[in-house]
C-alpha cells in the first residue's frame, strides 16, 4: 500500500510509491486488454468526481477507471465562476461528504485547492489538477508510458517543451521524473519559464534543436490559444517557428525521438499533425495508460484489498 492517504502532488512523493503505482498500472493495463474489462476490486466504494473546471479526457479517464474497478461514482461539475458567487467551496465539499463517500477526485482552478479540501473532509483526495500547481495522475501516466517504451526511467533524458510556468503537467512531471532518476530539460519562451528554477533540479535551454539532440523523449505541452498574439506569445507562426515540433525540424535530426503530448493538441501550433500521427508519437498509448494508472491509484488508495483480476 502507499505511504500517503491522499495523492495531492508529486513534490516529495516517495519514489518507491511511484514505482508501485506504475507496476500496479501495468497489471491493470493487462485487464484492459481482456474481453471483459472489469474487476470487482472497488465494489462498494463510492467516489465523487468533483470538477470545478472543464475537463473532458481526465474526467472520462477517471470515470472509466472507476467503472472498470466496479466502484460507484457520482459526478459533480461547476464552473469556478458559479463557485465564487454561490455556495462556498467548504459547503460544497462538506455536503458531498455528508452523503457518505469514500474518495474525491477533484479538479480545481486554484493552486492548493486539493490540500485545502483535506482540511474540510475525511475522504481520500486525489488531485486531478489544481490550477497551475500539480496534476500528479497525468505525470504518473506519462512516466508509465516512458517506462513502457524504454523499460526504465532512471537515466532517461526528457525534454518538456512549451508554457512551463502555467503548466501543472510540467511541474508534476518535473517532480516525478527527477525523483525517479530521469534528467529533465525544459524549453520554451523565456517569459513562460519560471524565474526561479533553483530546487527544481532541471536544466533550461531555449534552443529546441539542442534539446532534441539531447533528449530521449519530448513531452510537448499544449500552448493555450488564448495566449496567442496577445501578451505572452507574439504570434502563432513565431511560436511554431521557434518551439513547434514540426516534421521538418525532426527531419533535420537523425535520431529516434519519442514524442508525448498530454492533450488536447493544437495541431499545427505546438505539434504538427504528421508528427502526432507518426510512429514515434505515443500519445494514444498515454491515453490508454491514463486509465490503467488511474485504476492503480484508485485501487492502491481506496484500500482495495482484493487481488488484481480477482473474479
Amino acid at each position: 500500500m502507499l505511504k500517503q492517504k491522499h495523492l495531492l502532488g508529486l513534490e516529495g512523493y516517495p519514489a518507491e510509491d511511484i514505482q508501485t503505482i506504475i507496476d500496479t498500472a501495468f497489471n491493470f493495463r493487462e485487464v484492459l486488454e481482456r474481453p471483459i474489462k472489469k474487476v470487482p476490486s472497488l465494489q462498494g466504494v463510492t467516489i465523487v468526481n468533483l470538477f470545478f473546471e472543464n475537463s473532458t479526457r481526465t474526467r472520462i479517464s477517471f470515470e472509466l477507471a472507476q467503472k472498470r474497478l466496479s466502484a460507484d461514482t457520482v459526478n459533480f461539475s461547476a464552473s469556478s465562476s458559479s463557485l465564487k458567487k454561490g455556495e462556498s467551496f467548504k459547503d460544497t465539499a462538506q455536503n458531498i461528504e455528508a452523503m457518505k463517500i469514500d474518495a474525491v477526485v477533484m479538479r480545481h482552478p486554484t493552486p492548493g485547492a486539493a490540500k485545502h479540501l483535506t482540511e474540510f473532509i475525511d475522504a481520500i483526495i486525489i488531485n486531478a489538477g489544481d490550477g497551475t500547481h500539480e496534476h500528479p495522475t497525468q505525470a504518473i501516466l506519462d512516466m508509465m508510458s516512458l517506462h513502457e517504451k524504454f523499460g526504465r526511467l532512471r537515466g532517461l533524458k526528457i525534454g518538456i517543451i512549451g508554457d512551463i510556468v502555467h503548466s501543472r503537467v510540467a511541474l508534476s512531471n518535473i517532480y516525478g521524473l527527477t525523483s525517479m532518476g530521469a534528467e529533465v530539460t525544459i524549453c520554451g519562451p523565456p517569459n513562460l519559464i519560471p524565474s526561479f528554477l533553483q530546487d527544481l533540479n532541471v536544466n533550461y535551454n531555449d534552443n529546441l534543436d539542442e534539446v532534441i539532440d539531447w533528449a530521449d523523449a519530448l513531452n510537448v505541452l499544449r500552448i493555450q490559444r488564448e495566449r496567442m498574439g496577445i501578451g505572452l506569445v507574439p504570434s502563432n507562426r513565431e511560436y511554431r517557428a521557434t518551439f513547434g515540433i514540426t516534421q521538418e525540424r525532426l527531419n533535420k535530426h537523425e535520431k529516434e525521438i519519442i514524442i508525448m503530448h498530454p492533450g488536447p493538441m493544437n495541431r499545427g501550433v505546438e505539434i504538427d499533425g504528421f508528427v502526432a500521427d507518426s510512429n514515434q508519437a505515443i500519445i494514444l498509448d498515454q491515453v490508454l495508460n491514463g486509465v490503467a494508472s488511474r485504476m492503480a491509484i484508485l485501487y492502491l488508495l481506496c484500500g482495495g484489498k482484493a487481488n488484481v483480476g480477482e473474479n
Binding site: T110, A113, T132
Partner: protein
C-alpha cells in the same frame, strides 16, 4: 471582562520604569490620579489608592500603532472602533491611527469627525488617517486642509496603491500645506499582476502566481524621488523587501522627511511558511524570503526602518476559509505584536529592549507629531506594563479582535503585555497568568 475603569488613584509599585523618550531605565513607583500621571518616584498616595504590584515587570509608554484597519464604517462584522480598542489594549497599544479604506472611505472632513466622535467613547486614542484621493479613486485629491483641521494625522489610500505618478506628485505637493505624512501602499499593480504570494522558489513549487519584490521596490523608488522633489513628508508602510530597504536607506542619507515602518509578520515569517497554503499568510505586500527578512531586521537595527506597525487587518472566517485566490489579503496583529517583535529583534537578533520599545512608542509618535514625553507629571496616562522574558504560546483565547485571522496561533512567542492603562481604562491580562 478584562477591561475596567481606572480607580481614582492607582499606584504601580515596585516596577522598573523604562522611559524611551529620555532613554532611562530606573526603579520607581508611579502614581496615576484621575487618568493623569500625578507623580513618579517618592510620593504619598492616599490609602484608598489601588496598588498594583509590578515587581519584576517593566513599566513603559503605551504603544502606538500608526497602521490599523478598524473597518468602521462599513464592515462592523470584521471590527469596530470598540473591539479594535480592546484588541489594541490587549497588545499594549494605547494609541492607533486607522486607515481610511472603509465603506464609505474616510475621505472628507465629515468622515474625520465621525471617527473623532466615536473615538471619544473608546478606551484608547484613535486618530483617523484621511484618504489621499476622493473615494480612493486614485485621481482626485481630497480636502486635505479641512480634513487636517478635523483631525487627520496623515493621508493614505492604503490597500489601493496610487498608480499614477502625477497624482502622487500632486498629493505630495499639496500635503506640504498641512505638513503631515503621505503614506502610499507601495506596489506597482501592473508588476504585481495576479500575484498572490512572493515570486520566488516557493511560489514556483506551489504553482501560485508570484508577486515580485520589484513591484514594491520600483514603487518605493518612485515615491522617494517624488517626495524628495516636492519636499513633502513620505512614510513608507509595511516595507517587505531588501530592494525597497536599499532605496529607503539611500534616500534617508540626504532627506529627513522620509520614514518607514515594518510589520511584525514580515519580521517573523518567510515565504517557506506559505507551503501550508494558509490563507492567513496571504498579505499585501507578501511575506518574502528569508534573506529579505534578514535585511528587514538589519534595517530596523540601523534605523533605516523607524517603527513597528501591525497593519492589523481583520477579516471574517468566510473571507479566509476559502481557496487561496479568493481569500482576502491581511491578518490581525495587535495582540501578538509585542511577543513577536521582542522574540525576533531582542531575543534572536540581540537588539536592546529600550531600542525595541522606541520602535513601538517614541518613533511612531514622532512620525505622526504626537507628544512622546509620556513619563512627565501631568501627562495623560498611556502606560504599558510588560514582562519581556515570559515565554508563551499565542492562541485563540488571546484574541480580542472581532476577527481571528492570525497565522501566529500556535506560535511560541517571547514577552507578554501584562497591563495596559489608557486615560481612564485599565486592561489586565488574565489568560497569560
Amino acid at each position: 471582562m478584562s477591561l475596567k475603569n481606572l480607580s481614582k488613584h492607582t499606584v504601580l509599585k515596585a516596577g522598573t520604569l523604562l522611559d524611551p523618550y529620555n532613554k532611562r531605565t530606573y526603579r520607581a513607583d508611579l502614581w496615576i490620579k484621575d487618568g493623569f500621571i500625578e507623580s513618579i518616584g517618592e510620593f504619598n498616595a492616599p490609602k484608598s489608592a489601588e496598588i498594583i504590584d509590578c515587581k519584576g515587570k517593566i513599566i513603559t509608554h503605551g504603544f502606538c500603532d500608526l497602521h490599523v484597519h478598524f473597518r468602521e464604517p462599513g464592515r462592523e462584522d470584521k471590527e469596530t472602533l470598540d473591539t479594535g480598542s480592546l484588541s489594541a489594549m490587549a497588545g499594549g497599544f494605547t494609541r492607533v491611527c486607522v486607515m481610511p479604506n472603509t465603506n464609505p472611505p474616510l475621505d472628507s472632513p465629515e468622515m474625520m469627525n465621525f471617527i473623532k466622535e466615536k473615538a471619544e467613547k473608546c478606551p484608547i486614542h484613535i486618530h483617523p488617517i484621511g484618504a489621499v484621493t476622493k473615494a480612493q479613486n486614485g485621481k482626485d485629491i481630497t480636502e486635505m486642509a479641512l480634513m487636517f483641521k478635523e483631525g487627520a494625522v496623515a493621508f493614505s489610500d492604503d490597500g489601493l496603491p496610487i498608480q499614477d505618478g502625477a497624482v502622487m506628485r500632486i498629493a505630495l505637493e499639496y500635503s506640504t500645506l498641512v505638513g503631515v505624512p503621505v503614506i502610499n501602499h507601495a506596489e506597482d499593480e501592473c508588476l504585481r499582476s495576479e500575484g498572490l504570494m512572493h515570486e520566488g522558489i516557493i511560489s514556483t513549487h506551489l504553482g501560485l502566481p508570484g508577486n515580485p519584490d520589484l513591484a514594491e521596490s520600483a514603487m518605493v523608488h518612485r515615491d522617494l524621488e517624488l517626495a524628495d522633489f516636492t519636499g513633502a513628508k513620505l512614510h513608507v508602510p509595511h516595507v517587505s523587501s531588501a530592494k525597497a530597504v536599499q532605496h529607503i536607506r539611500t534616500m534617508k542619507r540626504k532627506n529627513n522627511n522620509i520614514t518607514s515602518e515594518v510589520t511584525p509578520h514580515h519580521l517573523f515569517f518567510n515565504d517557506e511558511a506559505l507551503r501550508s497554503y494558509d490563507t492567513n499568510l496571504k498579505v499585501a505586500p507578501p511575506i518574502r524570503t528569508e534573506s529579505d527578512r534578514e535585511v528587514l531586521i538589519k534595517a530596523v537595527k540601523d534605523g533605516t526602518i523607524d517603527c513597528i506597525a501591525t497593519d492589523h487587518a481583520p477579516h471574517t472566517l468566510e473571507d479566509k476559509e476559502t481557496t487561496f485566490d479568493c481569500a482576502s489579503f491581511g491578518m490581525i496583529g495587535l495582540e501578538s505584536a509585542f511577543g513577536v517583535v521582542n522574540k525576533v529583534l531582542v531575543q534572536e537578533s540581540g537588539m536592546e529592549l529600550i531600542d525595541l520599545i522606541s520602535l513601538l512608542t517614541v518613533n511612531p509618535r514622532k512620525i505622526m507629531g504626537f507628544d512622546s514625553d509620556l513619563f512627565s507629571e501631568g501627562a495623560m496616562a498611556e502606560i504599558t506594563v510588560i514582562d519581556p522574558d515570559r515565554d508563551w504560546t499565542f492562541d485563540k483565547d488571546h484574541i480580542h479582535s472581532k476577527s481571528g485571522n492570525s497565522p501566529f496561533i500556535g506560535k511560541d512567542l517571547k514577552g507578554t503585555v501584562e497591563l495596559t492603562i489608557s486615560t481612564n481604562s485599565i486592561y489586565k491580562s488574565q489568560i497569560i497568568k
